[in-house]
């Protein structure tokens, strides 16, 4: 990066450039652009307006990505979020049908989500020897089970007064409100994980929990907060999903946890913990969403779309490993 004056400052900045371009996030940006171009070529309806219009339902999943990335950075996992989305959306509809004004019902929806997340966090903190996969598998069944019991054989509830839900599904120009909320959350989550004490302790715990503990990081507190955040954002996702469907049912949010994990892993956030950046997760989320919208518009078989995303995911996990081992060999 020679300055305007023509002086070459040093060799290091050039190195940073290279590093940046060949970093996973750099590759993701290239993939993202390729996806946009590809979809544009495939579908004449792949316009800015249409993509934004189709986006809100998919964007609800990005809310799950943010805290999921934190949990993965910790080296933990949470597969109960789809069920939390279901339970909080159900609770939200029922509370609003009980005559509670929309604002209060929305806040209670988020609280139900946060409470579910806190339950996960509490169990994990109290019984650190239990794997998070198993605990959240259990709560996944429990949370959805509660929703199924409440919903009964009808299996579906829709808010009788939809005004509030219609309002949050509103738009500024072509941009749905949820889009701005996602961007703001993305910036906050990225800054916290990159700069703040809390974010750095996520990486420390994910790299080596014992070292982190002896370095004075309050491991339990960090884990508890991450899981409660996860629940809270699952509540937000539930709220916005209700606004995109006007109902909650027993299958609401099914499979969302896997979508969120896929977005994070594709973004270079390793499930082993301590690695990856929020930026990568967000870019990869938009890659997956744009690809789904584009391939959906040419009426590609939806199972085939899932297969393509699955293959992309495997490649995404393989690629850094291959390049990583190559780099190690070079250094040797």
């Amino acid at each position: 990066m020679a300055g305007k004056s023509g002086r070459t400052i040093s060799a290091t900045p050039e190195n940073v450039w290279k590093k940046q371009i060949f970093s996973w996030e750099g590759i993701l940006v290239v993939i993202f652009l390729a996806v946009i171009v590809l979809c544009k070529l495939l579908s004449p309806n792949y316009t800015f307006v249409n993509v934004l219009r189709e986006m809100p339902k998919y964007l609800t999943e990005i809310f799950l990505l943010f805290p999921m990335a934190y949990i993965l950075m910790l080296g933990e996992i949470d597969i109960s979020v789809g069920s939390i989305v279901c339970l909080s959306a159900t609770a939200g509809c029922l509370i609003s049908n009980a005559g509670v004004p929309f604002g209060a019902a929305a806040v209670l929806t988020l609280l139900v989500g946060a409470a579910c997340g806190a339950v996960n966090g509490l169990i994990l903190v109290k019984f650190p020897e239990l794997p998070s996969m198993i605990i959240t598998l259990g709560t996944q069944i429990v949370f959805r089970g509660i929703a199924e019991i409440v919903l009964g054989s009808g299996g579906s509830v829709s808010p009788t007064n939809m005004d509030g839900y219609r309002m949050i599904a509103g738009k500024i120009g072509p941009f749905p409100y949820i889009f701005f909320l996602v961007i703001i959350s993305a910036v906050i989550f990225a800054v916290v994980s990159a700069k703040m004490k809390y974010g750095r302790s996520l990486y420390a715990i994910g790299s080596n929990r014992r070292t982190a503990f002896y370095s004075g990081i309050r491991v339990n507190k960090v884990i508890f907060i991450a899981y409660t955040l996860m629940g809270l954002f699952a509540g937000i996702a539930g709220l916005f999903l209700t606004s995109a469907t006007y109902a909650a049912n027993t299958t609401t949010g099914k499979g969302f946890e896997m979508d969120a994990i896929a977005m994070a892993v594709f973004g270079g956030i390793a499930t082993t913990g301590g690695k990856g950046r929020m930026v990568g997760g967000v870019i990869s989320a938009f890659i997956i969403i744009c690809l789904r919208i584009g391939l959906g518009q040419i009426n590609m078989n939806s199972q085939l779309i899932l297969v393509i995303i699955g293959i992309l995911l495997i490649c995404a996990v393989l690629l850094p490993n291959i390049t990583g081992s190559l780099r190690l060999k070079k250094r040797d």
């Binding site: 189709e54 599904a169 870019i283 779309i305």
Partner: protein, 373 residues
């Protein structure tokens, strides 16, 4: 720190390209949409919508009629889609059949949103949840797309009309009479349904319950359980086995779903159970189980012709798009060789078009039907 700055710059560049790229592509498409809309038809009154960008394609090359099924690999839905496609193509239209990635309303929302972007002229949807498609379907109707339900209804607010395979009451009565007949008029019976929120399943089950309670003829029949096999063969098998274990005196299982009845038929026949089966099933899948005598698990069952359901839905879509009907009670339209149909009031406050009473499949006719569907 420079690394962070660079990544931020890259992100800005990326989003700028996204905006610029799409903006360039989007503008001409929007202009195109305005041009042909003047010639394409005065009926497209509200085409000046967000989603109007795609309408130009359909206006030039015939109309496009879409059908959204409940899930991929549902044989019943596939037959409906076949009938739908046949009629649409015979009338010079283009048929799009889309299966959602999972049997959930969430997945159907994505498919519907995509169809709005494509600017199709009509959408027929077999709803996985009556309520959860409302936001997407309202948006479709606001964009000028004619929305009707087929097979499994959406709520009244999210459709113009509904192609109902048979009146809910007729089905409830037929199935109740079958249970009465097979059980000999008394004893325990159970239901194996699809998912707990499948609109049509619940309507039929409610109708059966109502009929059972309203007539003293059925007083000796005891409905012991309603199980949900979720239209997944494995789960339907499991719930059937559980029923046999929990209720050894069970006389009849009624499965008003094609997946459930096939799974239950296999369980009962393999175990040589004395419990018999009836319900709604596909002849091709059930032929091996329908017969007289104890070695067969199903004496007889019912279904309407799913190909005809799809064809009826196609004629409804055609009539809606042509402006012959708008889904109001009393509207009549011609459905080719199927004759003339009238839109009637539905129990949920909306309107529907009823295909006809269910058809009985028994040992005398199963062999001729099993090759058809």
């Amino acid at each position: 720190m420079k690394k962070k700055l660079l990544s931020a710059l890259l992100c800005v560049a990326m989003s700028a390209t996204l905006f610029a790229g799409c903006g360039n592509g989007g503008t001409p498409a929007n202009n195109d949409a305005n041009e042909p809309s003047s010639s394409a038809g005065a009926d497209a009154g509200d085409s000046a919508d967000d989603a109007g960008a795609g309408t130009d394609d359909s206006a030039s090359g015939g109309k496009t009629y879409a059908m959204v099924t409940k899930s991929a690999g549902n044989p019943y839905n596939e037959k409906e889609a076949e009938g739908f496609k046949e009629v649409i193509e015979a009338n010079g239209g283009t048929a799009i059949i889309q299966h959602p990635e999972a049997a959930t309303a969430d997945a159907q929302v994505s498919v519907i949103q995509s169809l709005i972007s494509q600017g199709v002229d009509s959408i027929s949807v077999a709803a996985n949840d009556a309520n959860a498609l409302q936001a997407a379907l309202e948006e479709a109707m606001a964009a000028g797309i004619k929305v009707s339900a087929v097979d499994s209804a959406t709520n009244a607010a999210s459709r113009m009309t509904f192609a109902n395979q048979a009146g809910t009451k007729e089905i409830g009565q037929t199935l109740m009479d079958a249970v009465y007949d097979i059980s000999g008029g008394s004893g325990q019976w159970a239901i194996v349904s699809a998912t707990s929120q499948a609109t049509n399943q619940n309507a039929w089950i409610d109708a059966m319950k109502e009929i059972m309670e309203s007539d003293s003829k059925y007083a000796d029949l005891e409905l012991v359980s309603i199980e949900y096999g979720d239209d997944v063969p494995e789960k339907s098998t499991t719930v059937t086995q559980a029923l046999l274990t929990n209720y050894p005196d069970l006389k009849v299982i009624c499965a008003p779903t094609t997946v459930g009845i096939a799974a239950a038929a296999k369980v009962l026949q393999d175990q040589g159970s004395s419990c018999k089966l009836t319900g709604l099933g596909l002849p091709s899948e059930m032929a091996a189980y329908i017969g007289d005598g104890d070695s067969f698990s199903c004496p007889y069952m019912f279904l309407w012709n799913p190909i005809d359901v799809g064809r009826l839905s196609a004629y409804i879509s055609l009539a809606l798009v042509n402006g012959d009907i708008n889904g109001a009670t009393g509207d009549t339209f011609e459905a080719g060789d199927m004759g003339s149909y009238t839109v009637v009031d539905a129990a949920d406050g909306g309107t529907e078009v009823i295909l006809g009473p269910p058809f009985k499949f028994d040992p005398s006719n199963i062999n001729e039907w099993k090759d058809i569907y």
